[in-house]
Symmetry: C2
Subunit: 338 residues, 2 copies
Amino acid sequence: MIEDRRLQVLRAIVEDYVQTQEPVGSKALVERHQLGVSSATIRNDMVALEDEGYITAPHTSAGRIPTDKGYRMFVDRLAEVKALSVPERRAIETFLTGAVDVDDVVTRSVKVLAQLTNQVAIVQYPSLTRSTVRHVELVGLDGSRVLVVVITSSGRVEQRTIDLGQVPPDNLLVDLKSRIVRATLGERLPDASWRLAELIETFEPADRPVVSAIVTTLANMFSNEKSDERIAVGGTGNLARFGADFDTAIRPVLEAMEEQVVLLHLLGEASSGTTVRIGHETGHEGLVGAAVVSTTYSPDGDSLAHLGTVGPTRMDYPSTMAAVGAVARYVGRILSEG
Amino acid sequence: MIEDRRLQVLRAIVEDYVQTQEPVGSKALVERHQLGVSSATIRNDMVALEDEGYITAPHTSAGRIPTDKGYRMFVDRLAEVKALSVPERRAIETFLTGAVDVDDVVTRSVKVLAQLTNQVAIVQYPSLTRSTVRHVELVGLDGSRVLVVVITSSGRVEQRTIDLGQVPPDNLLVDLKSRIVRATLGERLPDASWRLAELIETFEPADRPVVSAIVTTLANMFSNEKSDERIAVGGTGNLARFGADFDTAIRPVLEAMEEQVVLLHLLGEASSGTTVRIGHETGHEGLVGAAVVSTTYSPDGDSLAHLGTVGPTRMDYPSTMAAVGAVARYVGRILSEG
DNA sequence: ACTGGCACTTGCACTCCTAGAGTGCCAGTT
DNA sequence: AACTGGCACTCTAGGAGTGCAAGTGCCAGT
């Protein structure tokens, strides 16, 4: 099939270009790959590929380089899954196993992922939205202030201090706490918010102000997206691979890496599976030239969080995807066990 | 005084070089500054300055640039304090005032400092070691596990879950908590650790295992330096100013910025006042070419934390020092008030 | 102690040129 | 119809050569 060979050519171009970082010409192609035809034939195929927008020539007498569309095709239909080597896997495992708490796991994941891929690694802290309520605690502090603590199944502890404006009767806090626990324990955070709303009406009108203040705070904490927003970034030193021109290639990426909102958007809303976003697909001006490989991991066998890498579009997609996937699995496993 | 004029020449060289980024020659110097002598005279002074190691010539027919020693002299004896403009000050104040919690204050400080100085900004989270204990809470979770919460005067909340190995009698936790609070409330963290140690012996031998487990954890939390290690970094996009060569100039800095230990060391142990470290003075291989301006701020009128900037040695020291100082003052004030 | 002048050095920007890589196309072959 | 070999053409990277401008060091003169 001619179609078939054209795809082989595209694959070869992507592979060679990723490796050499230089435009690849027809002659080099027949030399390095067993395509069984002459360079002239390859040239014809290349013209076709260029017409279809998969590759482009920087200038007349240079070879071709893949376009975003070309990489996309490569990732979707041509890339062969490349498994991580055993030493690599073992390295991930032992390095992550040494972690002492959730934060440490995340920090280490970023490091190992950056090292493995030679790219910029980003790891989202375990998300709250799908975790369940493991414990709620109300602590009366001095005067009218109350400390509200929530522990989730993902091991996160959120706390907040609020001022009720009045000193609550001591037993009210105890009573309220036990009712809150009864209503929300084991519930997912969004569901728990609903249960709380129903709770208010079961109290004496006199107690309502206090109850409502606390319950509102709790509901906020449950639906608070801020904890979802914590993201660790590492391996920015690898940005050298983006190219020489700092202002057009590197600076935008560095700036994007400092914006939580952008990072979250990059990691994406993918429900599961490994996602690749190439160049313009990232939806960010400064990230043409960059590609994002992201996936989800599951800190407690149920809820979801994201992690991934940012690298130049001319990256080794199979390896990167393998590394991202592997780290995600190990992180998920270790967090579930811990 | 000849000595005097030489210093003026050095000052002029530093100022011009910082502004133009190009080696400055004797002729340009007499044109731009009112030195009252001819370029030939300046040349003689330059030779002297070069002999003493304050300036150096990249090659025979280029102007001179300051050495680390030259910058050091400039900072120590020549720099005139440059006050921040009123709009700048107001910008800092309003931007920081909008913060909702400690983390937010730190995040915003990094941003504003980076923007103000056009450099990489680093801000240490408020330190625990000098803060005092504001509250301690013990919460029995399911089974034998206990949640230990500490709130400090700097507004930080630390928590940890431990497994006692046995289910503690309920009243023991209550009793223990009240005794701990009585012993440590208002104490500085290191002192609080001592008080805890004394506490163990006041309990029944039967309760000792539980008490000791909890107390040890608490003591760990008090003396835990990990919270001291949290540092926010921002403005890495400004690294462009370091120069064109990524691998020798930028990458080492980026890598240093990812190492908490290095950052802590850079911010330094200075007890107070603004410190400048130039090139090799930073004590880090990759940071020749970089200078660190750091100072302390006081989150609660007593304890200390650090913040500062990292920039190329050819930076505008007076402005940077002014900005660092100003941000430190505002951050300290806002945290004390909050 | 300072100045003007001068010979000397050096990097930079510019032009010019060539070698090499790669292309597109076409006529010929299977 | 698909492939191939050959050829003329295009373009860039890199080297050599050149003139210019900036800057220096030194010295004799004020």
